[in-house]
Symmetry: D2
Subunit: 284 residues, 4 copies
């Protein structure tokens, strides 16, 4: 894959934004390989993402930022630019269940994941061997249900030490303290095993079984202080019927979970997601 810069912008909508940005790029002979726009008439905001061939621009990212800053200020943009060659550092967090973890590790192994898994943190030791086969550091941080604070202090310290760009809760099964959620806002991705907002909280498949739904789902979302209420990145479902037991639902649901999580994570890694007011714009 060719090296690109990804310019991602959100700002109040008005005439001339695209003209200004693309003229800026054209002035420097920037070759746009992918462009996405969205104007939201409901809130009056405009969102845009451009991938520009890095070799076509005379800039590194710092110079780009300096050159672009006046335009960003003029249009009151929230914006960032990312270099596809600087892959994001991923810290995975897991518990005992391996399906999401194994899926992400395999995608990483085959080069499909547009990022680098720098560490796995788990509260059990079950998955150590699987992780270490991939030569990835495995950190066991047990969580004492009576006093969770020390564990989460250690988790925080590890995340910082690895300079993680994104933390993925790959069926981690522990609720993060709100301080952590706030500190890494927009950087922690969770997979919830239901089609949210249905069946938030514990044991969603049991809830789904009890209600008798005909589809089960999974939701990939950013973690916020409000459990299971963060901005949704990706969702999917699959059909079940009366003959499926809770165990069947758990098994069938795994396939939905890993697909939804891997898709959602990939969107994030490629700077395709913009969060605005607890919703996401996803430029697939």
């Amino acid at each position: 894959m060719e090296r690109t810069y990804r310019l991602v912008i959100a700002c109040p909508d008005r005439v001339g934004i695209v003209a200004k940005v693309t003229t800026f790029l054209a002035t420097y002979n920037g070759w746009i390989t992918e462009a996405s726009h969205h104007a939201d008439p409901a809130n009056g905001w405009f969102y845009m993402r451009n991938e520009i061939r890095a070799s076509s621009l005379p800039f590194d990212l710092d110079s780009f930022r300096i050159a672009f800053e006046p335009i960003a200020n003029e249009f009151e943009m929230r914006w960032h630019i990312a270099d596809s060659a600087k892959t994001k550092k991923i810290v995975l967090m897991a518990s005992k269940e391996s399906h999401c973890l194994a899926d992400l590790l395999h995608r990483y192994h085959t080069g499909e994941l547009d990022g680098e898994i720098v560490a796995v943190i788990a509260n059990h030791d079950d998955l150590r061997r699987m992780v270490e086969w991939h030569s990835i550091p495995y950190h066991l941080v047990k969580v004492d249900s009576k006093d969770k604070a020390p564990a989460f202090a250690e988790v925080e310290s590890l995340i910082d030490q690895y300079d993680a760009d994104v933390v993925v809760l790959a069926r981690y099964m522990q609720i993060l303290p709100s301080g952590l959620c706030a500190k890494y806002e927009g950087k922690i991705i969770n997979i919830h095993h239901s089609f949210l907002p249905s069946f938030a909280g514990a044991k969603p498949y049991h809830q789904a079984y009890k209600r008798g739904v005909k589809l089960i789902g999974a939701t990939c979302h950013y973690v916020t202080e409000d459990l299971d209420e963060g901005p949704i990145i990706e969702q999917d479902v699959r059909r079940i019927n009366h003959s499926d037991t809770i165990e069947d639902m758990v098994r069938l649901g795994r396939d939905v979970e890993r697909q939804v999580l891997s898709r959602g994570l990939l969107y994030h890694l490629q700077d395709r997601v913009i969060v605005h007011e607890n919703k996401t714009i996803v430029f697939e």
Copy 2:
């Protein structure tokens, strides 16, 4: 389509039910054209549906019932038998939105609906011309928001007068009084424009838009006294994204609604649905 008898059974599970029932049928040379079974290990119940070629049996329904009664008693069955030649009488209820109504009318028109639409009851007059084109009686029963009782008394009287086997709320938009719900338990089918239990109540597409879900859905369920809480017959979803406005969701949702409602209704008309403890077994 060949005429069949549909024998539908629910009973506590034990050894020998299928043997007893099918030996009974074989004794009389009954030719089974379709058979479905489900044993639920969680509640210890057994469910079964057989379609038997009517011409292969020496019985009319009354004689069948007399002959089968001892077996039903022995196994403590909740059961019924239906004749495919006696199509069910359907009363549709509608308001102003035509998509579900038009869809069911067209399926009826082309012979796809395994039932007879005997009347439409609506609280507005908008859809009269569409209904009357099909030579189906149209009853306007306006609902006075200050005193709804007279309207629902008239609705009840019409349902009884038409001897309806099933009442379909094709986006009727009024909440039926609990007395009506109880009287026709298991006979009133509603389409809710969300993937329940998400977004129960009013304006589900607005709720879905606000939450930022990535799929919208619809749910066909039996009406009970608890609004939007009845047994689910059928559900489906379709993908949306950030660029879809509420108006888009309403428009895209219509296609899901009519499909889910028509499928759910067809299952009911063909005696494919067994309700047990607020859940359904659907023998597709």
Copy 3:
């Protein structure tokens, strides 16, 4: 819906296209409400579609064309601009089966179809009453299997007389002569009742049944002289299983057909489709 101009462009890719076009628009204070781009690295072409609020521009379409022409020439664009207020004229062609026709008529009736159905041409009289209920002219043009030329001459004459922008074969079941296909290239849309290229030609559901596939589908495509080989606009499928007879497949397939056709047609009506080398770019 607000009135917009839709500017649709295809041209060889190079630096500065978007800048040039959007600067042109911004110069005249054109407010872009929707923008889509696609650069195809395989063939080196660039495609773009902009919706611009009509009231924000000082132009009617003719003036726009004059002002934009030099830019179009500079970049060797194939392009057109359309006015959302000038809805496209649709001629539907049908035979005996009503499901696609009824679906499009109903969407038209409720204002969902972004176009005007000006006439229906059919080779049987079965659907006349349904069409005339909508106050749409119905033309019976019988096709003599020994000499089809007179019928197609009449069809051509009707299409011309109605000045049709698009002709929709809503299960018309006749193969159009290649002269007609060539004359209205990119303007005739067909629904084929299989997931092309599987099961091209006659009786696709019979072919699908024989092969034992687990999904059936439908394909909406532009008609070209090569039967069932034209550019694909939209496709979809639904699951079947061993218990589905050919009759079941025909019935279940109808739901896929009408959805795929209506979606494909809507994309066309809203100028969302660009055809290039027998493939389509569809800016949903």
Copy 4:
């Protein structure tokens, strides 16, 4: 999971089959936990599968066979009975691509696969480390493109030596000689990376890209002497659009391939598939 016997039957349809079989079972107090039936009106055959709690029967499989034989003969049944406790031996065949192999290995690792992977045969050495991590023997059998016979003789010898119940071509990329196909008829499962019969043969994603389809798919089927023409067990698709390159399609297709293959294999391992005249009955 409780130990069961799986009784699978295909025979010409007539009155009394189910009665005879279930009375036989009930006579011995056999507790049926799952029952599926299918009568095919097109060919006059009847298919049935019963799972019976092993502990409820006074038989081992050999005694069961002796006791059931007269009934099977009376109804001219093709039938077999399998013991869920005797898991099937699986030989996987692979090449360089790991996604299907890794998926099946992981499902095996977590106990989701209802069988035992006894060996992997591959024509390249790339996947050895992954396989050996699971403590599964890895056999490299290089295929000389000028003389493939020695390689396939070795493959055959390995399959026999491992007494494989099923051979899975997990993207093996070599065409098996027809002798092998015939010898293990109904025992070799392949995953083809297209929605067959579309894009049979080589490079299906390239073919799909060229044709401009809007969905890509995968097909799990039994291998026969006619390449890509064997009975289809399972299929699925996913949506793509104009912006997806061949590389994107390859990547997105992997998720469909592994899901379709794992589902199809599981059906086979649980004796849920009956092959009849190049089609399958799959009792999900």
